[in-house]
């Protein structure tokens, strides 16, 4: 590692002053589980780390006016232990539970997972499903951006120099909806996502699908909702044949974005299967 300075921020105000100080090239540090690995591999393009992991405003999990407020420095373990998040967004909790190891979950943060923007980041599909909004702050002011638009590709985001993700917000899913997350890795624990899917859905009083959001993870360079599949499912009666077709359409939509790659033969079949399973789990109460 090269010469690198460290300073701890005690508040968001403090953090953005430090990040915006032009005499340094600063970078926010939260859990460090990605940053410290990168620091070993390459000479950092920054010369100061601003530690935001103890900023109390960034550790909040709360509900305000029908919106969930999730601090960017909340760790995966804190998500898993949150009664509120277990009740409202169980698929997001499930995704966090699938991250790394206990050690990684105890330190890694949601803000870091989004900002690092790995294509396989486990929190992304459910955050994108929820239309989660990232709140960014810098000396220039505040702005908000959908997580699906903030992350523009593998390890690429629109976060600007001096900017900090302070928190995320998303609307509480409708009471009739259920959610499900499935991840495929190469082993049972501490595995990197090969492919995943996050789905939320619900039916109206006639039993027809009136709420559906579907987002595959590690399938496309940009983690996005598959609106064409959602539109196909809306207003239809939940049944297995429908979900087989939805799985096929999801895989086709992925290939339309990525083209044929070395992994397509595998991902085509696997994405169909997990899409179908997730939809069956939500609408037909089938375990997966």
């Amino acid at each position: 590692m090269t010469k690198l300075d460290y300073i701890r921020a005690n508040s968001v105000h403090d953090a953005i002053q430090l990040l915006g100080d032009s005499s340094w090239k600063s970078r926010p540090l939260a859990g460090g589980t990605d940053l410290l690995v990168q620091m070993r591999l390459e000479t950092p393009a920054y010369n100061r780390l601003v530690d935001v992991s103890r900023v109390s405003e960034m550790k909040i999990i709360d509900i305000k006016d029908g919106m969930v407020y999730l601090g960017a420095a909340v760790t995966f373990s804190e998500v898993i232990e949150s009664d509120l998040l277990n009740r409202i967004v169980p698929f997001f909790v499930e995704a966090c539970r699938s991250v790394g190891s206990p050690q990684i979950r105890n330190t890694g943060t949601i803000g870091g997972n989004v900002a690092n923007a790995a294509a396989c980041a486990d929190s992304l599909p459910s955050l994108v499903c929820l239309d989660a909004v990232a709140h960014l702050k810098s000396l220039k002011g505040e702005r908000q951006m959908l997580v699906s638009e903030l992350v523009i590709g593998p390890h690429q985001t629109c976060i600007e120099e001096g900017e900090l993700i302070t928190h995320f917000t998303f609307r509480i899913p409708p009471p009739n909806s259920k959610s499900h997350f499935i991840k495929i890795g190469r082993r049972n624990a501490q595995s990197i996502s090969r492919l995943s899917i996050a789905v939320m859905g619900g039916v109206d009083q006639q039993g027809l699908i009136n709420y559906i959001r579907l987002c595959p993870g590690a399938a496309t360079p940009k983690t996005v909702r598959f609106y064409e599949v959602e539109n196909y499912l809306l207003g239809k009666k939940p049944e297995e044949t429908l979900f087989v077709e939805a799985g096929e359409r999801t895989a086709q939509a992925m290939i339309a974005i990525t083209g044929l790659r070395w992994s397509t033969r595998y991902k085509d079949v696997a994405l169909r299967a997990i899409t179908e399973r997730a939809l069956c789990a939500i609408f037909l109460n089938e375990n997966s």
Partner: protein, 162 residues
Amino acid sequence: MKINFILNHQPVSVDVPPDTTLLKMLRNYLGITGPKEGCSVGECGACSVLLDGLLVDSCLVLAPQVEGREVVTIEGIRSSDGGPNDLQKNFIKYGAVQCGICIPGMVLAGEALLAKTLHPSREEIRNALTGNLCRCTGYQQIVDAIEATALERSLITEQQKG
């Protein structure tokens, strides 16, 4: 940069460059060699320590991040007479130690679990060890040792309740 923290129940103060990892500070500046450097990328868990009671990989924590906090390494796990505690004795009894390099991390992962529950299923024990790799034992004996300790500690707790 001066770092003040509690190491194995004792306050310490040490001067390290700010980009030092917690692991390096413990091993190279404080002579605490229980945490091992295995993979250095947070996969193997040989460098595991307890930070404010939570299991973390000390290779992925920056030394200044522990300022004012409490760190427990394997050196801080012992019985009141200074010898091995019940969990460590069970590691020996159940043959859970072969080459030994993963064991400091394994014991701390066990302690982190037992601090949360004294009634873990084998599945829960296995989950608690997912961040600690062992290439000798095949894990069964380690799971056995933690399971036996959980049972012993829960019996003691029940007896104390009367």
